[in-house]
Symmetry: C2
Subunit: 610 residues, 2 copies
């Protein structure tokens, strides 16, 4: 059932550490080297996600292998994605974060876990590593047949003035989370500045606010959640502001100083903090706590020292079997570069799911169980923030633009479930696809309920090379509290498919120069909503109102006006559906018309950028 991996030479020069059982079975010298061949020594550097998955699967596939995990921190296999919620006291107990511990690895998997042990060097020629006990400083040498690097990433910590002041934290480990919790308790933290608006920054903001701490957020880009396109993030900005978070977008941290209240908190006047964050734009933000979460850099110290090839993005280069430039050394997780499946680009995608799957693949390859290959990553990810969900999979528009790839898109605003069932919530969706063949390139969505479900369905669609025509025909579960007979995924496919078929010409707010359009005598911006709606929710200045309910009559007259057929009509409604119906009427009346995707709702989300 198990075919042993090829290429494990006969006798090794290093003594077998735990060969006693094997030697009791195999007694001659030749047998001992057979035993060496049968007993692979696998060392794993880093015991979270990829490393831990690899160890567990290795053991399942090969009961005899000698497997050791070196973890430089005090805990293997801890739930790093849970750390913000632990700080927020949503997760109450530290023990909840410890998915497995050394004792479980020993009992369940016969895997030796060396905690507080950092691998400091690799001798590829001798096939050994030096591991340092970080508590005692003692070094030991360990031989390997296979080495698996799962070192993760490091929090970026720029050498800014004041960076080492107490009260400035990163959050990558359980001890760091505990340090933040202690600081909050001891210093009676009232205000925090979170620097960095990515996943962890957002989750920290939510959890600090949850604990009653006021937050300022500093983000160098003009939006939070940089992997997402800006218009999808606009509802996130709104939600943050509605929770009292002050956003400092397009601004970066320049340095830190002790705050007005002094390090001992002696002055407690209004707005005084233990620390002061200085931004490039000249702001001075006082706070009792600073979270520095501006990103993660692949941990490649060991790999560089060992002369392994790195990629252009600074991660360890691996092949489809997660093999580094040294065939006996594998690497997985946040430290490696992977292929983004939609664009084919080599990139860094620090996510737990891919890391786990990579660990499994390495185990398959080392044991020869299966010629498994990592297919690449789609970057499927989700953020929960104050009841809002933001999720995405595949390529974003900004990535497609940057790479100069051909794409088209549609926006829609659809209910999470049947509107006639109470509690329906509208979500905003953006679908990116290839205009040549309709292949789905990416989906992003934001809303309150059922958001990540639609993104997961599209993630599977992308994995299987599905087109918008497939989404149109997708058969998803429907009952009124769960979805609609035409699910948002279907609707996205239908809008895109109609656009590709040419029956539904679409344009996008960000591709329309509104000023030029309104100044142009040959162009007309038409709002087809009913007059009452315009009053209630607003409209685009300069638009002509031609309500859908009376449009046929109006078009009969309009189509007979001289010059009407020389004009181009840019149509919008509230979310896009009526704009589509109106566009069809214009076109069939012999007039040149195009629907603006996503209607006024999309206008409101794009407007901040126009």
């Amino acid at each position: 059932m198990l075919s042993l991996s090829r290429g494990i030479g006969a006798a090794r020069t290093f003594p077998l550490q735990r060969a006693s059982r094997a030697l009791s079975l195999f007694c001659s010298a030749t047998m001992a080297s057979d035993a060496a061949a049968a007993k692979k020594r696998v060392l794993i550097v880093g015991g979270v996600a990829g490393g831990a998955s690899c160890a567990a699967r290795l053991r399942r596939l090969d009961e005899k292998a000698e497997i050791t995990i070196f973890e430089k921190g005090p805990y293997v296999s801890f739930a790093n994605c849970g750390l913000p919620y632990y700080v927020g006291e949503v997760i109450k107990e530290q023990s909840s974060l410890l998915v497995a511990n050394a004792a479980k690895f020993d009992k369940w998997f016969n895997v030796a876990v060396k905690e507080n042990t950092e691998v400091v060097s690799i001798d590829r020629k001798a096939k050994t590593v030096v591991a340092r006990d970080v508590t005692t400083g003692t070094d030991t040498v360990h031989p390997y047949d296979y080495l698996v690097l799962s070192p993760g990433g490091n929090a970026v910590r720029p050498p800014l003035p004041g960076i080492d002041l107490p009260g400035i934290f990163s959050i990558k480990t359980v001890p760091e989370a505990n340090a933040i919790k202690s600081w909050i308790a001891e210093k009676g933290v009232k205000r925090a500045v979170v620097i960095g608006g990515g996943f962890i920054g957002m989750e920290m903001v939510e959890n600090l606010v949850h604990r009653g701490i006021e937050c300022d957020l500093v983000e160098a880009m003009n939006q939070v959640m940089p992997p997402f396109d800006p218009e999808l993030v606009e509802p996130v900005h709104e939600r943050l502001r509605s929770k009292g978070v002050t956003l400092h977008l397009g601004d970066a941290v320049a340095g830190f100083e002790p705050g007005t209240s002094g390090a001992d908190g002696s002055s407690k006047e209004e707005g005084a903090g233990l620390l002061r964050v200085l931004t490039k734009s000249g702001k001075k933000l006082e706070a009792d706590l600073v979270l520095l979460v501006i990103g993660v850099r692949p941990e490649t110290t060991l790999a560089r020292q060992a002369g392994l090839t790195l990629g252009a993005r600074g991660g360890i280069q691996v092949d489809e079997q997660m093999r580094t430039s040294d065939p006996d050394i594998f690497a997985v997780g946040d430290a490696v570069e992977v292929k983004e499946v939609v664009t084919g680009e080599q990139t860094l995608i620090p996510l737990a799911g891919p890391a786990n799957r990579q660990g499994r693949i390495v185990a398959d390859v080392i044991t020869g169980n299966e010629p498994s290959r990592f297919r690449g990553s789609q970057g499927s990810s989700v953020l929960g923030l104050f009841g809002l969900t933001l999720a995405g999979t595949g390529a974003s528009e900004k990535t497609l633009k940057r790479l100069g790839l051909s794409y088209d898109k549609v926006y829609l605003h659809a209910n999470n479930h049947a509107g006639y069932y109470p509690g329906a919530r509208q979500m905003d969706l953006k679908l990116l696809f290839d205009p040549k063949d309709g292949r789905v390139l990416g989906m992003q969505a934001v809303g309150e309920e059922g958001v990540e479900k639609r993104v997961d369905v599209v993630a599977m669609a992308i994995q299987k090379g599905a087109t918008v025509f497939d989404l149109e025909e997708a058969e998803l579960c429907y009952a009124p509290q769960f979805g609609s007979a035409k699910d948002p995924v279907n609707l996205a496919g239908m809008v895109a498919a109609n656009s590709l078929r040419g029956t539904h010409p679409l344009v996008h707010w960000d591709r329309v120069d509104l000023g030029a359009l309104l100044a142009e005598p040959g162009a007309v911006l038409v709002d087809v909503r009913e007059p009452g709606e315009l009053v209630k929710v607003g409209s685009v200045a300069g638009a002509v109102n031609m309500p859908l309910s009376g449009l046929r009559q109006q078009l009969q007259q309009l189509s007979q006006q001289e010059g009407a057929d020389a004009k181009k009509y840019y149509i919008y409604c509230q979310v896009g559906l009526r704009g589509y119906l109106a566009t069809r009427q214009f076109l069939q009346a012999g007039l040149d018309a195009v629907n603006i995707s996503g209607g006024f709702k999309s206008f409101q989300q794009v407007a901040p950028k126009l």
Copy 2:
């Protein structure tokens, strides 16, 4: 942009009803017949789901077509899936159920809606229908170029003794729902008997209980929710009982009588009802209200009368373009037979999603917009019941068995999101796949949260012909409140893939004859959970306890015992994971072992049937 459908002959013998506009443009006799060619007359029988979708898309694609919907009831396009919730007062207003009305069809779509109008006959030769105003009895004749049948299904109402007693209701229409609501209010209904345990029966039970009405449920099969495999429905039975619903499974209704309390409710003694339901097993169930929801039969009266071909299952036969045996007549929705995509079987799948898509396809075909084809149905469906969700897609095991198709399966019990984040709920999943190539055949799942999300992902996987190896590598969104780094979909794929690869030999409780196994000297049933768990949750009588935590030591001894390698070890744990780990240890110790899929949890769900 619009290519007109071919095959519409020149002059028709029927006067054009609404040709005034066309005639004002085209004045000669030849032009008039061109106008007839350009102006398709499309009649649609039935204005809910498929019919309404067809009308709306027809109009979008062809502004000139004459489109008429005949609806025998008082409302077009009403939300029939919402009716149980309207009775339950979850949906408060009748107006919420009316997704669109005749006025909206007129204003938005220029579609004529004839409500309270039943089409009573088709003259295929003359291409006319006779429509009857059900309020006046007046018949009118209407010509068509294309006829679209969307008549839906009829509630099955067997001619049982007493079937016409007042208080026995079906629920297919708004008036029926209103009649039930009035009856509940007027009679002060305290007890109800719901006959039929399908989707509508279950939803009615939930909604009646929600209104404080005690329910008995009578179902002829040994399980509710017949499209699902019995073990997946066991949690539904439990949930029903926990809400005080009395289940009468494997029993059928034999007739009805007036109840003890008399039709006027004169006697109000304990247990007295307005009606008495007699069952085949001899039970007499008293209740003030009876819901008869034992199924739906395709409404084919018109189709039969017109000589259209019906299929073996009693539905209207259509081709992939939803064309009946008459090329000018199309049929969609609950009345037609469709191809089940996984098995290829022709079957009846009365679901709103497929009906809507079929209606769109007919519009494409009639207008020549697109050579659209209906791909078949997967039967993706979901039930919400007292906080429990039951969902499925693709083939069930019972269907695969009935058709003699080759399949294998895995069970798992996985958390909806990371266990370390508060509120994780376990769901039960069953994945069916082709043992030859791993192609996914079906998925069923039951649990409290995130159930239909996983089924939707697998629905997309099935649509694209994905294998269990694809599920293994699926990249779904993960954050601790939404999922796990290894999502239940991944886990299902991993278990199935390991089974196919031969590294994880699996067997199933329903394929193990426990009595024979335990009597067999060569077979051993091994429970690898820790002793404390056995005490707490129970175990299978006759199983030997070999806890995973000490298994390696036990196996060292066991593997040296004489005859151990001649035995077969049937292993189980709580949900399957530790059973897998143990099975790997047994196998690698040279012993013949197999893991029982889904562990003790699955045993509990299958046990009622063993």
